[in-house]
């Protein structure tokens, strides 16, 4: 960010560009001077204070936003920071815009981000590459802020790719572990597949609108005609699918757990993976224009929610459960935006963002809790080797339980409100099948999360003798407590009813919710739906209790295992999708590349070149015998030539 001062009388307050700039500068500082800052806690303190100041600036921006008057649509702060690319009619500036949606995202990124930075100070205490770690973390925060602040497709894309990079860097932070390095690469490449779709979508948008600025593009989005109406949102969605780990591009996220746990909490739960939801919500105009695209979003969301939940039920790795859970919860969000686009329902959109917020709180909490557990058990991640930890890790345990109840949707915790908003609006807009799938996913969610809690914190300890669990330092549990508080109350605070602050806040963007008479499909009123949802959660909890905590659970598990062992291992492996992709894409791709490089390029093309050279050489071999070295032969050749020439002259003269 070379020129940061807002140029030429825009409405953009000068401090807005500083929000992403601070973490970026922090990253540069930390990475360049990692040796001198790397000692002690300085790196963490620098990084945390940098992101903390971004948080403060965000609060300023939000305050600024809230005190604005005028039409709701005009309550934004926007403007360019500096001119970036200008050539041949294309004019892309680093334009930023703060509106309600951005404000929400900003608060999450900086708020949760700060907490996780602080937590990392404790978590990474003993790592010798702390400065690098915090540098990457700061870079991520800056990139994510750029992403959500963008008021332009290309700037969004910049943030989009940069967060992917940071994800790569942080997943393979412990690069000397081959798995970590491979996982990072996989994340980047799968994301890039989505990015290519996104990029083509951007090209298409530019081709049709001649600009990439959000305001103008959205204003004219309805001008589109023909297949392009569907093509643009679908291509954008491809990007979202990659970034937000939806089926079929979700395979990178479980592997991404190779990274440090705070990274999983920040990037792979709270912020980056929700960028896809944010993007779809931001570009919802396109999705509303195309029924096909909107239906695709909702369907993929619902399918992912269920699919990932089934896999999560069978994972033994504490983080992989959470990873699949994240995929599943993101599916809920996509379901909501999809429904919002399908039915032009502001409530559904808002529900998606609402769930995004609450999910950020409780999933970050769960991840950090898991991190704390791992910290206590010296890096153990297998839940089968845990148990009864509530006694030794009380603070971690109780905050984890808050997160658990929140994700289950037990009232009055936050997940209850947000998940219900999704389920209810799906049902009420008449998407019964999708509602059914989502409800099934919710049931499974309750099951696997309860299973996790029971396995980790209750029952008997199964850890080996020489491990002595100890509660994490308060620099780690502090953020846990804060997040637990947020996970508990944010639902009530933000979205107790459809008139809650989050719904009101987003009205300028998605439209005003009209309290029309709900045409319930089976005549179930809203209260009934809510009760069904809670009942499902309780049912899931009960099932988990029966299998994992109650007496005789072990026998029941063994029986099930015996009966379904084949299916279980199939599901546990994520439906063998990794192997399938390997056989379907990776292997053929490598084969093609090998054939191209070693058969075609070397044999055919270079063979032709060398063959030509050799054949010229061969023919020269024959011709050179003419040069015998015998002077008299040469003279004769000369004379013959002269005679021929003379004959020609004579012939021509006549």
């Amino acid at each position: 960010m070379v020129r940061l001062a807002a140029q030429g009388g825009t409405e953009l307050p000068g401090y807005i560009p500083l929000i992403p700039f601070f973490p970026m500068a922090g990253a540069l500082l930390l990475l360049l001077f990692r040796r001198s800052i790397g000692r002690g806690r300085w790196a963490g303190i620098v990084a945390s204070s940098v992101i903390g100041s971004s948080f403060v600036l965000t609060l300023m921006a939000v305050g600024n936003l809230m005190t604005m008057t005028g039409a709701p649509e005009e309550r934004t702060l926007s403007g360019p920071a500096y001119e970036w690319i200008a050539a041949g009619g294309l004019n892309v500036a680093m334009t930023f815009k703060v509106d309600a949606l951005t404000a929400v995202m900003l608060l999450i990124v900086t708020g949760v981000g700060t907490l996780i930075h602080v937590y990392s100070i404790g978590y990474m205490e003993h790592d010798e590459r702390k400065a690098t770690y915090f540098g990457y973390l700061n870079l991520f925060a800056g990139s994510m802020l750029l992403l959500v602040l963008a008021n332009n497709f290309l700037v969004l894309y910049v943030g989009w790719e940069l967060v992917g990079l940071c994800s790569y860097l942080l997943i393979s932070f412990w690069y000397f572990k081959p798995e970590a390095a491979a996982a990072g690469k996989k994340a980047f490449l799968v994301n890039r597949i989505g990015d290519v779709g996104f990029l083509i979508g951007i090209l298409l948008i530019y081709a049709h609108f001649g600009t990439l600025d959000f305001d103008e593009v959205f204003a004219r989005a309805t001008e589109l005609q023909g297949a392009i109406v569907t093509a643009i949102p679908l291509l954008l969605f491809v990007g979202a699918v990659g970034k937000s780990a939806q089926v079929p591009l979700h395979v990178w996220l479980p592997d991404a757990m190779e990274g440090p746990t705070p990274v999983s909490a920040l990037i792979h739960a709270a912020t980056m993976v929700t960028a896809g939801v944010y993007m779809v919500a931001r570009t919802h105009v396109f999705f509303e224009a195309s029924h096909t695209a909107a239906l695709t979003v909702a369907t993929i969301g619902a399918v992912t929610a269920l699919f990932a939940a089934t896999v999560a039920c069978l994972q033994d790795d504490i983080k992989r459960v959470l990873a699949y859970s994240t995929i599943s919860q993101l599916g809920f969000m996509f379901l909501a935006v999809g429904v919002g686009a399908l039915s032009h329902s502001p409530v559904a959109y808002a529900a998606a963002i609402f769930h995004l917020v609450t999910h950020a709180f409780f999933k970050a909490l769960l991840f950090l809790g898991a991190g704390s557990v791992m910290h206590a058990l010296e890096g153990e991640t297998n839940m089968k080797k845990m148990g009864g930890l509530i006694k030794t890790l009380p603070r971690t345990g109780w905050t984890f339980i808050v997160g658990w109840l929140a994700i289950l949707g037990i009232p009055p915790l936050s997940g209850f409100f947000s998940k219900d908003a999704i389920l209810v609006s799906t049902y009420e807009e008449g998407w019964f099948l999708l509602w059914l799938i989502a409800s099934a996913a919710a049931l499974l969610t309750a099951f696997y999360m309860s299973r996790q809690v029971f396995l980790v914190f209750f029952g008997k300890s199964r850890s080996s003798e020489d491990v002595h669990p100890h509660e994490s330092p308060s620099i780690m549990t502090g953020p846990l407590v804060v997040l637990a508080g947020l996970a508990a109350i944010s639902g009530m605070w933000l979205g107790l009813t459809h008139a809650g602050p989050i719904f009101r806040l987003l009205e300028p963007l998605f439209g005003v919710h009209e309290e029309a008479g709900t045409e319930a499909f089976l005549g179930i009123p809203e209260a009934g739906l809510v009760m069904i949802a809670v009942a499902l959660s309780v049912l899931g909890m009960f099932l988990a209790w029966r299998l994992y905590l109650a007496r005789g659970g072990e026998e029941r598990r063994a029986a099930l295992q015996e009966r379904w062992s084949g299916l279980a291992s199939f599901v546990r492996s994520g439906y063998r999708l990794d192997a399938l992709y390997g056989a379907l894409f990776v292997w053929p791709g490598k084969t093609i590349a090998n054939v191209a490089a070693y058969a075609f390029d070397v044999r055919v093309i270079d063979g032709a070149v060398n063959g030509l050279a050799v054949s010229i050489g061969r023919s020269a071999e024959g011709v050179r015998r003419v040069q015998s070295g015998l002077v008299r032969r040469y003279v004769m050749a000369m004379l013959t030539g002269a005679v021929v020439l003379l004959a020609l002259f004579i012939a021509r003269a006549n």
């Binding site: 015998l630 008299r632 032969r633 004769m636 004379l639 013959t640 005679v643 003379l646 004959a647 004579i650």
Partner: protein, 172 residues
């Protein structure tokens, strides 16, 4: 008439000894025939009025150069006779054939064309009263002075080059 007869005599001598030079097997004889041919040519120069050239022809060619030839022939073994077997296939045949072809062409051209400058001055000399030698000298030292000087360079180079080439290596 005298001109014509002198011409015929000299031309016959030049051609005859030229052919003989090609045909004799002994190198010394060949050299002698060449001298004869060159003397005859000098006569042909003379009757065309090129006195200076005629003199040069005798002094430089028939004199100096041919002496050098004979000298080398003697040096390199005078007694050697070229064998009559031609090792290069068809070399002799084709050579003679080409020669015949050329002669035919020359006769064809010589008989078939006329330059239509029939009445040339028979012992021509330049138009002025100056003698031929003076005229050539004037021309040579005025208009052609620079090329003339350059020939001296050429000759020096040739002399030096010859010494380098022919010098025996003194190393044991």
């Amino acid at each position: 008439m005298i001109d014509a007869s002198v011409f015929l005599l000299a031309a016959a001598l030049a051609l005859g000894s030229g052919v003989a030079m090609v045909l004799v097997r002994n190198a010394v004889h060949a050299a002698l025939f060449l001298v004869a041919s060159q003397l005859a040519l000098a006569v042909l120069f003379l009757i065309q009025g090129a006195f200076f050239i005629a003199a040069l022809q005798i002094i430089v060619y028939a004199g100096a150069i041919m002496v050098l030839f004979v000298f080398v022939v003697m040096l390199l073994g005078v007694d050697k006779r070229e064998s009559l077997i031609e090792p290069l296939r068809f070399q002799r045949e084709i050579g003679v054939g080409l020669g015949v072809l050329l002669i035919v062409a020359a006769l064809y051209l010589g008989v078939g064309t006329s330059f239509a400058v029939a009445d040339l001055p028979d012992s021509a000399g330049p138009r002025s009263t100056e003698g031929n030698v003076e005229a050539v000298a004037r021309e040579l030292f005025t208009h052609w002075a620079l090329p003339f000087e350059i020939t001296s360079v050429l000759l020096i180079v040739a002399v030096v080059g010859t010494m380098v080439l022919a010098k025996r290596r003194l190393r044991s």
